[in-house]
Amino acid sequence: MMKTLYLLVPLAPLVGAVLAGLFGKTLGRAWAHRLTILSVLISFICALIIFVDVLNGNSFNGSVYTWARSGGTSFEIGFLIDRLSALMMIVVTFVSLMVHVYTIGYMAQDPGYQRFFAYISLFTFSMLMLVMANNFLQLFFGWEAVGLVSYLLIGFWYTRPTAIYANLKAFLVNRVGDFGFLLGIGLILATFGTLDYAAVFSQASALQDLSLEIIPNHSWHLLTVICILLFIGAMGKSAQFPLHVWLPDSMEGPTPISALIHAATMVTAGIFMVARMSSLFELSETARSVVLVIGAITALAMGLVALTQFDLKRVVAYSTLSQLGYMTVALGASAYSAAMFHLMTHAFFKAVLFLAAGSVIIALHHEQDMRRMGGLKKFMPWTYWTLLIGAIASAGIPPLAGFYSKDAIIEAAQHSQTPGATFAYLCVLACVFVTAAYTFRLVFMAFHGEARFDPAHPPHESPAVVTAPLVLLAIPSIGAGWLIGYLVFGDFFLASLYREENTDYHGLLSYTLHGMTALPFWLALAGIATAWFLYLKKPQLPKKIAIAFGPLYALVERKYGFDELYTRVFALGAQRLGVGLWKGADERAIDGVMVNGSARLVLWFSAVVRLLQSGLLYWYAFMMIFGVCAIYALVKYRVFT
């Protein structure tokens, strides 16, 4: 019975995707969304039932079918259902369901309607396969499959040059991460002889002392190498510095997928993966230190960029990068449950922010520049209030969700013994101020102040299919944080991830009150006040600040120049190298010298032979004399003995 439900969770969206994708034209628009929404609803209900079952203490780890066998290893497709995966299944199917409904309104005018539904259902299937995996092979399957759907969806409007540039970039940058990830999986297989999670985790501590000589005479701790390689995969998927460059550009895709894929679910796959591997990462302090530092850099550096952007979606995108940095810091600080908790609350409030942004964008006829918004509050009350909830949650103001999850991370960074923890603590602390500032900068610029849009076309509130998902997502954005006692400080996750004992927790109310006397809360308030002062009180000031900080501002605004650097070094460099190898080595050296050269050699040889048969008597006589001398010399010096 439960096994059927496990199968139904990923397969229902797959069926929906196949139907909408292959028979979209026959089904028509209405049936395409009905079928896919129904399939995701089935998936969500099954996930709920499974969640309750898991709460009752049940779990499952088993194979569905054998994918292949080789060298004594059996590669399986199978599910691991425990507290961790059950929680992820709920998050994925719920956000996906909301986004499906929202899409009816958002994509109503689009000719690619059915195709869009097919893609997002396919994404739901892939993401579920990823989180439900019980082995590294299937993890990689889901990992790449979500990458594929992300590629297809970023390039959904395929006639736009920016969209098809962005999707290629996203795929290739992700592939760089996957390159490391696959090597990590390879090392795991070579070390443990299996790719099954349970088998790997149970052997890991026994193999703790193994080392690997990657460079001769330099032996490295094997598990550190494995963990860092796996984390490179996470850096690609979760857009961590310096592989973050693809995520802002991915905003070229339609807004529903920015919410679903590039905020709530897919980009958190890296966080989920490291949490899943917590028992490996716990064995390598070096790897955790790398994780911690990378996360801290991402959180602060990307948050600062968000302050300088004017494109509504890009601000939210940089905010996503920054929040992913928070989760990564939590992983590095061994606070895996806090990372997962923030992943969950972030999925809700970031989905709200994105979907509300999308609601604004359609109301303003695809205007995304905040400098041409302002004063939208009274035109779009539902959008405004839900977005405000998302913004407060994101800024970390109690009692909304973001406050709790972010506080848990900051505390973990503060108390962590991992090298680099002090740096990380300072980064995330500073980032609290930055987060509140950019979030409320968005709120004030778009919804308050004077209206800067075209007064001839005043915006209207979006239809119910758009606002209903906003409201449904705003609810957990408010309340999901109250589960902190259970999820982070309680024993919710059981053995599914590594937990440090923490006895500081004395109930929700005292935690909240304590948080309100601590530094982060005041930093957040200061951030909001700053945003209010700069964007409502003195709207001319930001421009002056930008000019005053000239080069520094430009550096941040241009995202620290990574796009240009990568284009110049990798994209152009590879092309130049390719041309060099093609024209220089292939055509000139191999074809020119070796192939045509040997043809020429034959010609030359025959020309020489022709010379010998010149028909001139003295030439023959000379050759004869030369030959006799040569033979005499050879015999005399006994060359033939």
Binding site: Y65, T66, W67, A68, R69, S70, G71, G72, T73, L137, F140, F141, E144, A145, L148, Y151, L152, G155, Y158, T159, P161, I164, Y165, L168, F171, L172, R175, V176, D178, F179, L182, L183, I185, G186, L187, L189, A190, L212, I214, A574, Q575, L577, G578, V579, L581, W582, A585, D586, E587, I590, D591, M594, V595
Partner: protein, 493 residues
């Protein structure tokens, strides 16, 4: 009997096709000729199916063996047999032949009978290569396949076809002459036997093994093709008609790799171990260097040709790391590449037939007028990048796993294909398929017709099936591959 049928049914069908064609300038019989060829190719595929269904998974040795005297004076036999290594290639070849016949249905209007006849005869000869257990018989089949391919490129090819046909012919002929010398040496050493299975057991000193290794190496390396003897392939592909490219990529390239695993590894295990570093280096150069060259191609067929070389680098890499992941992964990669490269060349053919250009710059925005085609080509492009759940992933994954078992840096270099493969394939896809229609011609393109859809759809199913459930492909290999690995570990002198 089955293997003889697999060889002679297509050859007879080919001869029948030729006979039915009549005068070559007179094309009145063309419809009948096409039908005969189609039925012949289907019959050719059907007779190979019992090879799979009747295959004994536990038997590592040769199955379906048949032996008849051929030239008794010289101890030459007509010996056929397949094991877990060769069996799937016969099925693949017979399967691809059907698709080639259908794909050429309308494109070829000149000398239809000769075109289809050449493919059917070649199909039979290729099955002969994969099943011959007699050295001389192998050589005859191996060389004979050159002739139909030479004719196909030289007659139905593009503008520069004669240069390409000669380059192809001379390159491969030169290689196989060295192999003939090696075969004759083995014949003498073994006391006058051409039986390949006797040669496996033949003790040989290391220096003799090394000489023989190079004799075989040149013949097989040209066919694979390995760097640096690969430059004939892009030229041959560019000039060959679509069907020719399909068979060239899907089957003919596999002959070289098959030669390594049938001759080089088991007959010369010590030399193989001794020179593994060389083979691995050349393979990795193919993966990385050719990947970069593929990136900057402006001609779609050349790009896919270079991509083929890069993918075949995985095959030779897998063979010479001497573990089960590597060898089975390489064999899987050979089959998958048969599907994927065939599909990609057919895709280019579909566009070429409409636009008469293979230049990437002449395209852009094909998806607007050909959405079905774009979707199928997306699948094949993804398979070419080795995306999981397509066949392209399986072999690459297994070879990378095998390489990691051998050495970290081997895996590192091999895995770079994750980035390069995606870069050259998807960049081409972006420039050709995505975007706004580049010109009026592109905007007016007609989407796939039923026949084209059938061919590409069949390959799409094969690619997905092998990606989602490769077990049926890998199961048949284990016994023979494990046997080979045991054999490889034992010194021969």
């Amino acid at each position: 009997m089955l293997l003889s049928l697999a060889i002679w049914v297509p050859i007879l069908a080919g001869l029948l096709t030729l006979a039915a064609g009549g005068n070559e300038s007179d094309q009145r019989n063309a419809p009948a000729v096409r039908l005969i060829a189609l039925l012949g190719s289907i019959a050719g595929f059907l007779v190979t199916i019992p090879l799979y269904t009747g295959f004994n998974l536990l038997n590592p040795g040769m199955q379906f063996v048949e032996q008849h005297a051929w030239i008794p004076q010289f101890n030459v036999f007509y010996t056929l047999g397949v094991d877990g290594i060769s069996m799937l290639f016969i099925l693949l070849n017979s399967f691809i032949t059907i698709l080639v016949v259908i794909a050429g249905w309308r494109v070829i209007q000149q000398r239809v009978a000769q075109y289809l006849g050449a493919f059917l005869i070649m199909s039979g000869l290729l099955n002969g290569v994969f099943s011959a257990l007699d050295g001389l018989l192998f050589y005859v089949f191996f060389e004979a396949t050159l002739i139909p391919m030479f004719i196909i490129i030289g007659v139905w090819g593009g503008a520069n076809r004669v240069y390409a046909a000669f380059k192809f012919f001379l390159y491969t002929l030169f290689g196989s002459l060295l192999m003939l010398i090696a075969l004759l040496y083995l014949y003498n050493k073994s006391g006058g036997s051409f039986a390949i299975r006797d040669w496996w057991k033949l003790p040989l000193p290391l220096d003799a093994q090394l000489w023989l290794f190079f004799g075989f190496l040149f013949a097989f390396a040209v066919k694979v093709p390995m760097w640096p003897v690969h430059t004939w392939l892009p030229d041959a592909h560019v000039e060959a008609p679509t069907g020719g490219s399909v068979v060239l990529a899907a089957i003919l390239l596999k002959l070289g790799a098959y030669g390594f695993i049938r001759f080089t590894l088991p007959i010369l295990p010590d030399a193989s171990r001794e020179l593994a570093w060389l083979m691995i280096t050349l393979s990795l150069i193919a993966v990385v260097y050719i990947g970069l060259v593929a990136l900057v191609q402006t001609d779609m067929k050349k790009l896919i040709a270079y991509s083929s070389i890069s993918h075949m680098g995985f095959v030779t890499l897998g063979f010479f790391i001497f573990n089960a992941y590597g060898i089975e992964g390489a064999l899987v990669q050979m089959i998958s590449h048969g599907f994927v490269s065939a599909a990609l060349f057919l895709c280019v053919g579909v566009m070429y037939e409409r636009m008469h250009s293979r230049n990437i710059a002449d395209y852009g925005g094909v998806v607007n007028s050909m959405p079905k085609f774009a979707a199928l080509m997306m699948l094949f492009a993804m398979a070419n990048c080795g995306l999981p759940a397509t066949s392209g992933f399986v072999g690459e994954f297994m070879v990378i796993m095998g390489a990691m078992k051998a050495n970290f840096w081997l895996a590192f270099a091999a895995a770079s294909t994750l980035v390069f493969g995606a870069a050259y394939t998807l960049w081409m896809y972006k420039r050709v398929i995505f975007g706004a229609p580049a010109n009026d011609q592109v905007a007016a393109l007609a989407d796939l017709n039923a026949r084209e859809f059938l061919v590409l759809g069949t390959l799409a199913i094969a690619v997905l099936w092998m990606g989602v459930y490769p077990l049926p492909f890998t199961e048949v290999m284990h016994a023979s591959v494990n046997d080979l690995l045991r054999h490889l570990a034992l010194p021969k002198y």
